[in-house]
């Protein structure tokens, strides 16, 4: 893990604040960085306050007052136009950060992501550069129902040409966002909406975290647990519970799932011989399946037990809180998967 952190001051920041700070610092540094989307400022064409929302989750709050409507652009509800405008602008001198208020809205602009931006560089023989970031909120837990709670990272991870970032804490969120903005490829930056208020110590100065390098929030030799985004918190909780019983888990947070730090996962499994992959996405063709298959191919001889996936079921996200809570992979399910692979 080679984080290019600064040596200056730091403070406790929320995930929301960390992303906001990353955006603000990059916009100050580089005049070609712009932010666009629905309500990224809010109040356009209204009688009341400007910057009325700063994003419906408040992530872009304060950017418009500082950088103006020319660089913090409220748009009509036209996601294909938003993403198309971001990538076209990326092809013409800007580094846009476009927001999909909910990543579920990918459905109305998927072409502009998977068929256009993702493919330009390859199709055009390496001549295109499309340095854009698409921010989107993912995940269940808000009682927002089937159309506002999806993960969808498997869909974009499947797609060549895209990079996919899934920060699990405020520190990573800031460093990865700055990296994403400076990156020359289209990056999908998936923010789990349940994490916006999670806090940790975050440096005040800008810093980057390279893509494709996992973090290791817990170390252990008994079982490898790979988890990303919101699931990292649960994996850590499970690991801490199990540690009390003397079961030591190696918790790996890939941080970016495309590119994926295969090496760290394989190295860990070579030691533990046991793997549990936790993924809030539906199980079929998921990232859990993907990581499982990589290990089953490349670290087979180290495996001492079946690989267990802990995922959401093959069902849409239900609205009712009792159902939604049962839907999302729980600490309990992670704990019992670990026991399972230990032959418990």
């Amino acid at each position: 893990m080679t984080n290019n952190t600064s040596s200056g001051s730091s403070s406790i920041k929320t995930y929301r604040e960390a992303i906001n700070e990353a955006l603000r610092q990059e916009m100050r540094r580089d005049p070609t960085v712009i932010v666009m989307g629905e309500e990224v400022s809010g109040g356009a064409g209204c009688a009341g306050q400007d910057d009325a929302y700063g994003g419906v989750f408040g992530v872009t709050k304060g950017l418009m007052p500082e950088f103006g409507r020319e660089r913090v652009i409220d748009t009509p509800i036209s996601e294909s136009a938003i993403i198309g405008a971001a990538s076209g602008a990326a092809n013409n001198g800007l580094r846009p950060v476009a927001e999909l208020m909910f990543f579920d809205f990918i459905g109305v602009c998927f072409d502009q992501i998977f068929n256009q931006a993702a493919k330009f560089r390859y199709m055009f023989g390496g001549k295109a550069r499309t340095p854009m970031v698409i921010r989107g909120t993912v995940g269940a837990g808000w009682r927002a129902g089937a159309q506002h709670s999806s993960m969808l990272h498997p869909v974009v991870t499947h797609t060549p040409g895209l990079k996919v970032v899934m920060p699990s804490n405020a520190y990573d969120a800031k460093g990865l966002m700055i990296q994403a903005i400076r990156d020359d490829d289209p990056v999908l930056f998936l923010e789990h909406k349940i994490m916006y208020d999670l806090k940790c110590e975050v440096p005040d100065d800008p810093y980057t975290i390279p893509f494709g390098e996992a973090a290791f929030p817990r170390q252990g030799n008994d079982v490898t647990i790979v988890a990303m985004s919101n699931m990292v918190t649960r994996a850590i909780e499970a690991a801490d519970l199990l540690a009390k019983e003397g079961i030591h888990c190696d918790v790996i947070d890939p941080r970016t799932v495309s590119p994926l730090d295969e090496e760290s996962i394989l190295e860990s499994v070579e030691v533990t011989g046991r793997l549990v992959v936790v993924d809030e996405a539906h199980e079929r063709c998921s990232l859990a399946a993907d990581i499982s298959s990589i290990v089953a191919e490349k670290a087979f001889s180290s495996l001492r037990a079946p690989i267990r996936k802990v995922t959401a079921p093959h069902a849409p996200v239900p609205f009712s809180p009792v159902l939604e809570d049962a839907y999302v992979p729980s600490v309990d399910r992670i704990v019992s998967a670990v026991r399972d692979v230990l032959g418990g």
């Binding site: 209204c46 089937a146 506002h148 609205f319 009792v322």
Partner: protein, 323 residues
């Protein structure tokens, strides 16, 4: 008198039911009894009722994220609705849909839609079903001023014209898409005109005037039933509450909401008109007010008392008809 008393009473009762239902949703949401994202439609009752009051259960409506009023106007059971919005097992959708995904196929209400612009393409399909099967049934979709800019809505307009579908496109222009002004997000000078440019009859109405809106809907519905194809209506209306319940609404002008409640309340306007014309008496409507209030109280009580779904049996139920 151009309208039957029974009809006017029904209109009043329906508008009032929506109003009280929404006000109660706001209260219950604030009290922690309703989870999730909820978009209230109080202020916009006249449009919902004008559009739906004469539709049959076999006519289809497709709604939006702001769908409670459309449901009630289309005849959905308010108790089942409240249970649904509270996420209960006996709700209209067994608690799996909630406010943003509420539906009642038995009543021809094929769904709120949490995706802006999701509904009009579906209503084209409902209209196509009605047409292909040789019925005189129609479909009516609701869209907002914001959703009017979604490509799916725009292409649905053209598609309906080309296939001459019995589809009424109702655009509720409440001046806002979340916290963005319609004047900003709509590049055109007139939404009604833009819709009309797609090749269908299109009109603008004052959506606070139940009667004007009702008549525009009647014309459009009639055309659709007669096989004359789609129509569009832009109804200007007003949103009394936030975009979602809990929205601080910083983007609204000073006193804007209070002014609207004072001078642009479609229910007050209706009452003034029907009493002014001596079509209805205040007492009749006061009696309805009391009944509606009781009904909503019951809905909330039953909603609170209703059982939660059971994850063991319900989580994986109904993903497919068969799998």
């Amino acid at each position: 008198m151009p309208y039957q008393t029974e009809f006017l009473l029904r209109v009043y009762r329906t508008m009032k039911t929506i109003r009280v239902f929404e006000e109660r949703c706001i209260k219950e949401f604030e009290g922690g009894n309703i989870p999730g994202f909820v978009h209230a439609s109080n202020g916009q009752e006249a449009v919902a009722v004008a559009a739906c009051i004469d539709l049959t259960d076999r006519d289809i409506i497709g709604s939006t994220h702001r769908g409670h009023g459309h449901c009630i106007a289309k005849g959905c059971d308010v108790i089942g609705m409240m249970k649904e919005i509270m996420g209960k097992a006996t709700g209209l959708c067994k608690g799996k849909g909630g406010s943003m995904h509420i539906a009642d196929f038995d009543k021809g209400m094929i769904g709120a839609n949490a995706i802006v612009g999701g509904g009009p393409p579906l209503c084209n399909g409902a209209a196509l079903g009605a047409k292909t099967r040789g019925t005189r049934d129609i479909a009516l979709s609701f869209s907002g001023d914001g959703s009017a800019n979604q490509g799916t809505v725009l292409e649905a307009l053209n598609f309906a014209v080309v296939l001459k579908l019995p589809h009424v496109f109702m655009f509720e222009n409440n001046g806002y898409g979340e916290g963005t002004g319609a004047d900003y997000a709509l590049g055109c000078s007139s939404l009604a005109e833009r819709n009309g440019a797609f090749g269908m009859p299109s009109e603008y109405v004052d959506g606070l005037d139940f009667f004007a809106t009702y008549e525009a809907c009647q014309r459009a519905i009639e055309r659709a039933r007669n096989g004359e194809g789609p129509s569009a209506i832009e109804a200007e209306t007003v949103r009394f509450d936030g975009h979602f319940i809990g929205d601080p609404q910083l983007y609204r002008g000073e006193n804007e909401i209070q002014n609207a409640k004072d001078t642009r309340d479609c229910i007050k306007i209706f009452r003034e008109r029907v009493t002014g014309e001596s079509w209805l008496k205040d007492e009749e409507m006061d009696r309805i007010d009391a009944e509606v209030s009781d009904l909503i109280d019951t809905a909330v009580e039953e909603g609170l008392a209703a059982p939660n779904p059971d994850p063991a049996t319900d989580l994986m139920a109904d993903v497919y008809c068969s799998y």
